[in-house]
């Protein structure tokens, strides 16, 4: 038989149906080994196959087969993705594509998504190489800064759902943008701002160059023809600057006049207009000075301030998108006949029944059809302890069933859910926060008016005494020496230096106004779980027989319960002993260790299993419970011999940090969603007095606590979880601590990348030092300008000296800003680093 096959094989290769065991390609006839059960198309495949099997990785083929089957063309994209089990069926629905997909010039479909799972440059490589292996995908462009991706594809060959599944298979989740249309608007706005800034900067620097020539010429008696030539160009540049990038100020001033509301652009516009018109008139007359370089420079500096503000507002808006992404966009509706249909949450109606697989987020608010079930509600309450919902009990969007799939009757979905309202509260709170007007804007207009008045006064006062030429020279010197450069530099430089130094200490501050608000803060509200405490379960205290506790840990080794893990971490296993007959029972574990019967669990369990609880143990158990921890008792042969208190350990530096915060004059409050008794125990331990802590707060109540309580403002809110988001946005400054939820990190104004609460102290003290630097800088530049004005007024400096002195104030301010603000804690070694 064998010989027959061998002889026939070369003659009719098409009949041999061998495919390579590794890569699946057909095996060339000459390579077929009829005696082998597996065929390989080449030596390479054989080597890989052997290696995989030698390493025990045969599962690779199983996974590859599943993936190939699921991702084959034409396979329904609504089936769960191979790796994560997420569903992308709704990506192919017409209402989804109508909202998100655009056509580019080449007729390809394009769309943009936020991308979860993006880490570094290697992700860019991986994703942008996707079009090479996925047919129909034309291009993928990743934007690391915004965690976004632009996809262009041929929608005749591949659907969005299939693309999303490919991304998912690589570990990236595509998150639809909340408002795709606004993105285009943002882009256009960005472009407009960049052009404005670029033009204003170019004009300002050229006008400055011309001005320096004029100052020099003034001293060296420049011929009038040259002077006028330069002046005409300067005036032309200034008019261009006001008419193009500076038009913004005039538009705002006009609106202010029309609506009769005072606006800081009113004095700015007036000052700019006076300067340029004055320059124009003087140039036309052929005598007098022009103030064009100051006007153009001011336009540029003010625009820089506005641009920064504009970017911050937009960033605030983008944060909201992340929160809405916490709730799934797609629901599994159960029809009358029990069949399941996937549809976007917008299509859900009250009364519908939806199925939620275990571990996935509930897409709507509603009632549990079948109960009881345990839910992870940490998104709303911040508590990691699961909560049990009875049949017909209320469940909230964003929470997750833990043990089994559940069915929920829809009460509401989308924006009306509690999570939706929470997101709305964050949005509202962020927009309500009054933007701090950059100091340079506040002072700019008045500064201009004052300088112009002073220059006019100088001319008027000196004209009759020393003649027009000398009087105008003094006025020019005054205008030159009071150039607003130092003033414009004073604030931004100090803030940039402050933010940079904070970042090196693992404190990420998002914007200069944050530092200003922080430095004025009078109250700081701390969340408990995850902020003062570490947010995990651990053995915090113990008493009684140590060896019994170690044996208990041995017993707990086989359990997956968090308390068991805490035991195992806390007590080293005794050598040589083994736990036998281990049995998990409600409330604890029992078994045999070294021939002794041992029960680990609650007091109730001990009594139920017949153990005697001595009086001291009973007392200790009560004391532990009174401190807000769970007492775990250990009995040996029917007698309780040891206890352990299991709870959320307080961060080691918490008490010190709170004491230091209080010493800086802040009122320290604790607000938590946890049980009041637990909050009290923790507050007492870290030294927060009675009346300064509250427990049992829902997220909505936390917002009210931060916003409405009559404690001194501004308020800083420090938290870590999604339940603190709205409160963090409602506070004047929101601070997210390390390991907080992703959404918390994005809503907060400050992220502490270094662990513990010590960085918080550093942040508060550092922000005060930064503000002190800003004040010093302003004092230096105003004082310098005042001194310069006096000298120029009294004729002690001429325009050329003034032009030389002018940059010195800017240099002084720069030197102060770079050397001054510090974010350390008096010589303590620094461990915090930015990730």
């Amino acid at each position: 038989m064998t010989t027959l096959l061998r002889r026939e094989a070369p003659a009719r290769p098409e009949r041999i149906d061998a495919s390579c065991a590794h890569c699946g390609l057909p095996v060339p006839a000459g390579l077929v080994e009829p005696t082998e059960s597996r065929q390989f198309c080449c030596g390479g495949c054989r080597a890989v196959w052997n290696t995989l099997h030698a390493c025990g990785l045969e599962r690779y083929y199983e996974l590859a087969a599943r993936e190939a089957e699921l991702d084959a063309p034409g396979v329904d994209a609504s089936r769960p993705a191979t790796v994560t089990g997420r569903r992308y069926g709704h990506f192919d629905r017409p209402e989804f594509t109508a909202r998100h997909v655009r056509r580019d010039a080449a007729g390809r479909a394009t769309c943009e998504f936020r991308l979860d799972g993006l880490r570094c440059g290697a992700c860019v490589w991986l994703l942008e190489a996707l079009p090479r292996i996925v047919g129909g995908l034309a291009s993928v462009r990743v934007d690391l800064g915004r965690s976004a991706v632009q996809i262009a594809y041929d929608d005749g060959r591949i659907g969005l759902g299939a693309i999303a599944r490919r991304f998912d298979a690589l570990g990236y989740q595509l998150l639809p943008l909340a408002d795709p249309a606004s993105r285009e608007l943002d882009r256009a706005n960005d472009r407009r701002w960049l052009v404005r800034l670029g033009v204003a900067g170019a004009i300002a620097s050229n006008a400055m160059a011309l001005a320096f020539a004029l100052y020099g010429g003034h001293f060296a008696t420049m011929a009038d023809s040259y002077r006028l030539f330069f002046q005409w160009f300067s005036v032309g540049l200034a008019i261009l600057s006001l008419a193009w990038p500076g038009r913004l100020f005039f538009a705002n001033a006009l609106t202010a006049i029309r609506t009769r509301t005072p606006h800081m652009d009113l004095p700015v516009a007036a000052g700019l207009a006076v300067m340029v018109v004055g320059g124009l008139v003087n140039t036309a007359r052929g005598t007098g000075s022009i103030y064009c370089e100051s006007a153009t420079m001011l336009v540029f500096l003010l625009l820089v301030g506005r641009f920064v503000q504009f970017r911050q507002q937009r960033a605030a808006r983008q944060r909201i998108e992340l929160i809405t992404a916490l709730v799934p966009a797609v629901a599994r509706r159960v029809a009358e006949d029990g069949s399941i249909e996937e549809l976007p949450i917008e299509a859900l109606a009250p009364g519908d029944r939806v199925q939620v697989p275990s571990g996935e987020s509930v897409p709507c608010d509603g009632r549990l059809v079948d109960g009881p079930a345990r839910f992870d509600v940490s998104i709303l309450t911040g508590e990691s302890k699961p909560s049990t919902v009875e049949r017909d009990g209320e469940v909230w969007a964003g929470t997750r069933p833990l043990d089994r799939p559940v069915e929920v009757t829809v009460a509401c979905a989308g924006a009306e859910t509690r999570a939706g309202r929470l997101a709305a509260m964050v949005a509202e709170a962020s927009s309500r926060r009054p933007p701090i007007v950059e100091l340079v804007n506040r002072i700019g207009g008045w500064f201009l008016a004052t300088v112009l008045l002073l220059a006019a006064a100088t001319t008027i006062v000196w004209w009759p005494r020393i003649g027009p030429d000398a009087a105008i020279e003094r006025a020019v010197a005054l205008l030159v020496v009071t150039c607003p450069c130092a003033l414009g530099l004073a604030t931004p430089l100090a803030i940039v230096a402050g933010i940079g130094k904070a970042a090196r200490r693992g404190i990420l501050v998002k914007g200069g106004d944050v530092l200003e608000r922080l430095s004025r803060a009078r109250t700081i509200v701390l969340d408990k779980t995850g902020t003062i405490t570490e947010g995990r379960v651990a053995v915090v205290e113990r008493c009684g027989d140590e060896s019994a506790l170690a044996r208990a840990a041995l017993l707990e080794r086989s359990s997956a319960h968090p308390i068991a893990a805490a035991f195992v971490a806390a007590f080293p296993a005794p050598d040589g002993s083994m736990a036998t007959e281990v049995e998990e029972i409600a409330g604890g574990v029992r078994g045999q260790v070294g021939g002794r019967r041992i029960v680990v669990g609650s007091e109730r369990l001990q009594r139920r299993s017949g153990a005697t609880v001595p009086e001291w143990a009973e007392r200790e158990a009560q004391a532990i419970a009174g401190r807000g921890r769970t007492p775990i008792l250990v009995s040996l042969d029917g007698v309780v011999v040891a206890l352990a208190g299991v709870g959320d350990p307080i961060r080691p530096d918490a008490a010190m940090a709170i004491e230091r915060l209080r010493r800086t004059g802040l009122r320290v409050l604790v607000a938590s969603g946890d049980h009041p008794a637990v909050v009290r125990a923790v507050a007492v331990e870290v030294g927060v007095p009675e009346g300064d802590f509250v427990g049992g707060l829902e997220p909505e109540e936390k917002v009210a606590f931060v916003r409405d309580r009559p404690h001194p403002t501004p308020v800083v809110m420090v938290g870590d979880g999604v339940n603190d988001l709205a409160a963090m946005a409602a506070a004047d400054v929101g601070v997210a601590v390390r390991n907080g939820a992703q959404a918390a990190l994005s809503v907060s104004d400050v992220c502490l990348a270094a662990g513990g609460l010590a960085p918080l102290v550093r942040l508060v003290e550092g922000s005060r030092r930064t503000l002190a630097t800003i004040r010093l800088n302003l004092a230096v530049s105003v004082g310098y300008n005042a001194l310069g004005a006096v000298l120029a007024f009294s004729g002690l400096i001429n325009p050329l000296v003034a032009a030389i002195l002018m940059p010195i104030s800017g240099l002084t301010v720069t030197a102060i800003a770079l050397s001054k603000p510090r974010f350390d804690l008096g010589g303590a070694p620094e461990t915090g680093r930015i990730r």
């Binding site: 699946g24 079009p131 292996i133 030539f229």
Partner: protein, 56 residues
């Protein structure tokens, strides 16, 4: 010194050219994403524009 009558407009023309180049770049979203392109530069692009469709 009369050269100044030529030099000044020329220097301004240079500035205008720079501004035009800047606006051209801004309108083409060259400043849109400043984080990714420096990384993208390091990626291999020597792969021919070949498409590997999935194996059967």
């Amino acid at each position: 010194m009369d050269a100044i009558y030529l030099a000044l407009p020329v220097s301004l023309l240079v500035a205008v050219a720079a501004v035009i180049a800047f606006i051209w770049a801004a309108r083409r979203d060259q400043f849109e994403d400043l984080d990714t392109p420096p990384k993208r530069m390091l990626l291999d692009d020597d792969e021919p524009a070949r498409r590997y469709d999935r194996r059967p």
